[in-house]
């Protein structure tokens, strides 16, 4: 099961694992997993307040979350998702966030998960 906890655990494992670093970028893979976790938390949390959100995209959900979730979860998720998205899209000139930044963003997602 790809629960947020599992995804975040796998992300951390990737970052902590001594992989042969030339094959792939562990921070990038970890960011992809963490963003999936953030999105899962976002949807679950929003559903609690708004009912079904299947057809609402993530950006819209984040706007709602920031407005609705007054325990700070929305803000945490917004920060984490935007940060992780920088690692999950090809930017015009920015390089992918480094491992330390991804690790910090995973921390944000974890905190948002605990708030739920």
């Amino acid at each position: 099961m790809n629960t947020p906890e599992n995804l975040l655990g796998q992300a951390r494992e990737l970052l902590d694992h001594e992989w042969d670093g030339t094959e792939w970028s562990a921070p990038r893979m970890a960011a992809l997993l963490a963003r999936r976790a953030a999105e899962a938390i976002l949807r679950t949390t929003c559903e609690k307040y708004c009912g079904r959100v299947d057809r609402v995209n993530n950006r819209a959900l984040l706007i709602i979350a920031v407005q609705v979730l007054d325990d700070g979860t929305g803000v945490l998720l917004e920060r984490a998702w935007c940060g992780l998205s920088r690692a999950c899209h090809r930017h015009a000139f920015e390089l992918a966030p480094p491992e330390s930044e991804v690790r910090e963003l995973i921390g944000l997602v974890e905190r948002a998960g605990h708030h739920r």
Partner: protein
């Protein structure tokens, strides 16, 4: 010859200017100018004639041969436990001309490589010596790894081989306590001396901070850096050497002038009769040293008091022994003559003549009465007696005559001795107590009796008085002369010094003239020389600026070194929309950075430098994005015969290189857990993502992980390919980079980005493209839904579809 190629170039330029002079400079002056640019020893040798610098112009080939040393390239930089790098990591570099771009986020460890390189080569770091050294020194060891800090730089030198520089620190050492070990071909443990000079002058490593400080340090610093760079230090040193030598040579002239002044003052206050004449001689433009030399002794004053005293002080009397001898001779002669008294010689001669006639008469006419007495008879008997008498008379006459002659000679000798005592000279101006007595004694002495018989007595009587009077006079005159000389001696002494110095001045006059000539030439031509020498660098800087300026309205004009001392500066002339101005005053911060680069790059890539590499640490940090493409072109041009390594905090440079036809090796530095730094190839991001996706698909990762990450990697690969197409199209059409980047960032969906790549329109309906090939739609589906929902097909299928789509997309015309 100088060892530094910059100096050799300067000498060639000086030689050329000297040979172009009209009228031409004297050969010796030309030699002195050139020797002055070498060193002091050679300059002095040239002056002495034991060193003859070549004054003829060299051919261009000769010059090039002197100025191009063997090239050195970087083979790699390996760093461990130092700054941002934990485990030992190597940045491999290809030791040949070409462009290498190393991208890495701030904090990725990329600057640690440049700092390590700088440290290995120079023993220092720009950051250590500036900015916040205390902070730097506290954090120079990598905190994550328990690894001893080490730096290893490998270089390849043409025609020599590999050089390795290793830097290590003791366990608890401070950063400056590092030890460097050099391994060079033939076990040479020293770096070549020309490397040290080139590291200072042609600095091949430049950081962003240093770039910013190039203009901050003040105009004189920039002036000095450029002046030193093009060997103009040698020019000012040469001028200084000639100036020092001219001063040294003219020291005698100065001293002579000073002494002459003092002498003239002394003479003005002297009552000596020689003073006015000497003063007049000294006042001449070119004083007659021989004539003036007479004044050191009193020989010059022939008609003056000194001359008169000197005359009186001279011994003029005949020797006593001579006088005594002459007197005795005369007396003896007189005594001998006196014994013959009884008949006069004349009577004896007449009598002899009469007897001769009488005998002749008898012989011719026979016996007859004496015609004189008339009583006696002239007969044979008489004739016999007469002949005997005649013989006796003639003998006596001879003896008497001899006695007379002895008296005459004796008297003559004595008179001559009397006459030899000259009359006392005119003594006007000289008052001597013994003069009158001497004069009187001499008068008595000089008026001898006419009779020879009294002469000896006269001499004997007057000589003692004469000797006594003259001796006293001479002693008095000598004493007076000594007084006279004593009064003159300070002047004479000074005059002696002056003459000695003047002789030196005269002997060195030609040397001084030539050295001054050489000094004036070099001084007067300094401005011309320094700007002519700077010209190639200035031209190169302008060419670079013209590539970097892009939309800037500032056109860089002449670059000149102007002013002296605290006023020295680099004049960077600019043309701002047709109006003349100074570049530094009208440029923005970003433009100043670009200008600094334009000045740095020619400096680092001059032929004189043995380093064929240039390392730039994040030069684009403050650069207007619009200038990046021009900058890549500049780097590519440099990379034709230089190894250019550029570090960058973002992907703009790499991106620009990928898009253009520039051949570049692109690496990315990534910093992982515990400062594990990796260097990966980043030539083609789209293909890299595909490779990564393939690696993930084939990996033993948990399937749920593979399914979760593969769609994201697919999307990144598609977006990377789309950006490559989109940016290439936009930039090749000359469109603004800022706008293109903004549009890309605003449209985050993969479809919109493909729309931008294909048609420049993010909202275009992609059906025309999706229908062209089935895998396109499949891949886009993975990118869109899979990223959020997970992979719906097998990992292998996803990668195959991705590969095809990427290849397909990258074939799009740009």
């Amino acid at each position: 010859m100088p060892e530094n190629p910059a100096d050799t170039r300067l000498i060639s330029l000086v030689r050329s200017l000297l040979n172009r002079e009209s009228p031409p400079q004297d050969e010796r002056v030309r030699g002195l100018v050139l020797a002055a640019l070498e060193d002091e020893q050679r300059l002095r040798a040239a002056l002495e004639g034991s060193h003859t610098p070549v004054t003829a112009e060299e051919t261009e080939d000769d010059t090039r041969q002197h100025t191009t040393p063997a090239g050195t390239f970087l083979r790699g930089i390996e760093v461990g436990g130092f700054r941002g790098i934990g485990s030992r990591t190597r940045l491999p570099l290809h030791p040949a001309p070409g462009l290498t771009i190393v991208a890495g986020r701030n904090g990725s460890g990329k600057s640690s490589f440049t700092e390590a390189l700088e440290l290995a080569l120079t023993g220092n770091s720009y950051r250590w010596s500036t900015a916040r050294p205390a902070l730097w020194k506290e954090n120079w060891r990598n905190v994550h790894q328990d690894v001893s800090p080490t730096v290893r730089v490998d270089l390849a030198e043409e025609s020599a081989g590999d050089t390795r520089i290793e830097v290590a620190w003791p366990d608890s050492g401070k950063p400056e306590e590092h030890r460097s070990t050099v391994r060079r071909p033939e076990e040479n443990p020293e770096l070549p001396p020309e490397w040290h000079r080139a590291l200072e002058l042609n600095r091949p490593i430049l950081s962003y901070e240093e770039l910013g400080n190039l203009f901050e340090a003040g105009p004189s610093k920039l002036h000095d850096a450029l002046a030193k760079l093009v060997g103009l230090e040698q020019l000012s040193e040469g001028t200084q050497r000639l100036d020092t030598l001219a001063k040294e040579l003219s020291a005698a002239e100065k001293q002579a002038k000073k002494l002459r002044g003092e002498l003239r003052d002394d003479l003005d206050h002297s009552e000596d009769e020689r003073a006015p004449e000497l003063r007049k001689l000294l006042g001449k433009h070119k004083p007659d040293l021989e004539a003036i030399g007479g004044f050191v002794t009193d020989s010059a004053a022939s008609g003056g008091v000194a001359a008169r005293l000197r005359e009186l002080a001279e011994p003029v009397l005949p020797e006593q022994a001579d006088i005594d001898s002459s007197v005795n001779q005369l007396r003896t002669a007189l005594g001998e003559a006196a014994e013959l008294v009884g008949d006069s010689v004349a009577g004896a001669e007449q009598r002899s003549a009469l007897l001769h006639r009488a005998l002749e008469l008898h012989r011719e006419h026979g016996d007859q009465p004496c015609p004189v007495c008339g009583q006696a008879t002239l007969d044979a008997e008489w004739s016999s007696r007469a002949r005997q008498r005649l013989d006796e008379d003639e003998q006596w006459i001879t003896v008497a005559r001899q006695a007379q002659e002895a008296v005459r000679r004796g008297a003559e000798q004595l008179r001559s001795r009397i006459a030899r005592v000259p009359a006392l000279p005119d003594t006007a101006g000289v008052e001597l107590e013994n003069l009158e007595r001497a004069r009187r004694a001499r008068e008595r002495w000089a008026t001898p009796p006419e009779r020879d018989g009294e002469l000896a007595e006269h001499v004997a009587a007057t000589h003692p008085e004469l000797v006594a009077a003259f001796t006293e006079l001479r002693e008095e005159a000598a004493a007076r002369l000594a007084q006279y000389r004593d009064a003159w001696s300070p002047i004479a002494e000074k005059l002696t010094n002056w003459l000695e110095v003047m002789r030196e001045v005269r002997s060195k006059a030609q040397d001084l003239k030539d050295v001054r000539g050489a000094h004036e030439w070099l001084r007067d031509n300094t401005k011309r020389l320094r700007n002519e020498h700077l010209r190639p660098l200035a031209d190169h800087a302008r060419r670079i600026w013209s590539r970097l300026r892009q939309q800037s309205n500032v056109d860089l004009g002449a670059i000149e070194l102007t002013g002296n001392g605290p006023q020295r500066k680099v004049a960077l002339h600019a043309d701002v929309d047709g109006a003349e101005s100074q570049a530094l005053g009208v440029m923005s911060q970003g433009e100043l950075h670009a200008l600094a680069l334009a000045l740095f790059l020619p400096r680092a890539t001059m032929d004189q430098s043995p380093f064929r590499f240039v390392v730039l640490d994040d030069p684009v940090q403050a650069m207007d994005p619009a200038k990046v493409d021009g900058f890549v072109q500049v780097l590519a041009e440099l990379a034709q015969d230089r190894q250019v390594v550029v570090f960058s905090h973002d992907d703009r440079l790499a991106d620009s290189a990928r898009r253009s036809n520039v051949r570049a090796r692109i690496l990315e530095v990534q910093r992982g857990r515990n400062s594990e730094v990796t260097v990966v190839n980043s030539d083609s991001p789209a293909h890299s993502y595909v490779s990564e996706a393939r690696a993930v698909a084939k990996s033993e990762l948990d399937p749920s992980v593979r399914e979760a990450v593969l769609p994201g990697l697919c999307r990144m690969a598609v977006e990377a390919a789309a950006w490559e197409i989109y940016s290439a199209k936009r930039f090749h059409n000359g469109q603004d980079r800022d706008k293109a980047e903004r549009l890309w960032t605003e449209h985050k969906r993969t479809r919109a980005r493909i729309g931008l790549a294909l048609c420049g329109d993010p909202d275009i309906d992609l059906d025309f493209w999706l229908e062209g090939y089935p895998r396109r739609r499949h891949t886009l589906g993975i990118c869109a839904d899979g990223t959020h929902e997970g992979l719906k097909c097998s990992a292998e299928e996803a990668v195959k579809s991705l590969q095809t789509t990427i290849d397909d997309l990258l074939r799009e015309p740009r």
